[in-house]
Symmetry: C2
Subunit: 237 residues, 2 copies
């Protein structure tokens, strides 16, 4: 826990083609952390579209960002292009070097991997990309929220909400996190039990795997290529 | 359930000062409903800011919207101003008259109330505004998701995710909803048990009530004034 009188700079990375709730789920928590400034940073001030078209705009550019105390790195299919974007990778490297806490959501982990930042970390990501983590030197841990020192990894998409509450507790204590949880009435009651590969009915999982097969193959090819660039010897997958 | 070959027009209302996750939580589901177009509508094309500053942009204006099959009405403190906005109220009335399904999230219910649309409905809203529903002629039901015919009401903020999955199942069947749930890895694990007034530790609830007291008083005054305008005889609260 950080002293309450220390003001925190919290920043979320925004990029084209992200999965919006990787950003907006945590936003609901991060924007309410006491004595903190939370802002959204992107390469330019032009609004981007998430993978399904939602238009989101940043508060400032990467170039205009301060050193962050807390870095929030979302995922979504746009992370593929970002993995080859030198400006984004350099920004992540610089911010991680100075930040006290790093918070990765979904395939944001692959982006951190492309920046060479996952070596020897315990990490998680979206279930469909989970098997790619070792390509970046990480140890995959099949939990919804994985805490590795000052790093917090949330699994796919909505796991970012749970991860953000963990982070809030890390930063400002459990009661601050509980107050935010109450405000946002976060007592989830999913109407179905289909939120993980282990829980989903088999035909639903089979259909979902078919639906993401193309994207998963592309992610694997990118991951192998980037791992080679980083000089990480990829294990046989 | 609607025939799968019937294309659906799904629309979300965007207004200044909404609580962003009332829109973005459901967005993750609504944008993935098979054979449907999901778009965001606002008074103008200028990006708005949510109550904590997130900049969101619409796809089209209210004036350019088609008749929707599914209307999604989010809440957040900006609903206060919207309750006196004739353009928004008239749009809601027109859309509700023609829509097959109405989906209210959080204090979006108060906005529907201001449009005179809550009379004799079973409804819910954010816990801090729950007691205001009778002012609009509604029967408050203290559940996370309340289904009243073709209307679905979600309680506060994150309840919109659960409500959207209910709605997806109503529209396209349970398996379609389960597939979306698996994609978004929605198997929530809140790190604390503090998501409702009934579950939150008492000091946290007391603190939260103090924090929203001013907003709640303002909401009550607005609700009474609007109820009088609508000619609803408000019960003693």
């Amino acid at each position: 826990m950080i002293p309450h009188d220390t003001h925190l700079q919290i920043g979320s990375l925004l990029f084209d083609g992200l999965d919006q709730i990787d950003l907006t789920g945590p936003f609901e928590v991060l924007s309410r952390i006491p004595n903190a400034t939370h802002r959204i940073y992107a390469k330019t001030m032009v609004p981007v579209r998430d993978v399904k078209g939602l238009r989101l705009a940043p508060d400032a550019t990467l170039a205009d960002s301060p050193q962050l105390d807390v870095l929030h790195d979302p995922g979504g299919f746009g992370q593929e292009a970002a993995m080859d974007d030198e400006e984004i990778l350099a920004w992540l490297q610089k911010q991680v070097a100075g930040a006290g806490h790093i918070f990765s959501v979904c395939t944001g982990a692959l982006l951190l991997g492309a920046a060479g930042l996952l070596r020897e970390r315990r990490a998680t990501t979206h279930w469909a990309s989970f098997h790619l983590l070792p390509l970046f030197g990480a140890t995959p841990v099949n939990e919804r929220v994985v805490v590795d020192g000052n790093w917090i990894f949330a699994a796919g998409v909505t796991a970012g909400i749970d991860g953000a509450l963990w982070l809030a507790a890390e930063l400002r204590g459990g009661d601050a996190a509980r107050a935010i949880q109450l405000y946002m009435q976060y007592a989830p009651e999913p109407p179905f039990d289909s939120g993980t590969p282990e829980r989903a009915p088999r035909p639903i999982l089979a259909q979902a795997k078919r639906a993401v097969a193309g994207i998963t193959a592309q992610r694997e090819a990118t991951a192998r290529r980037v791992a080679a660039r980083l000089g990480i010897s990829a294990p046989n997958l």
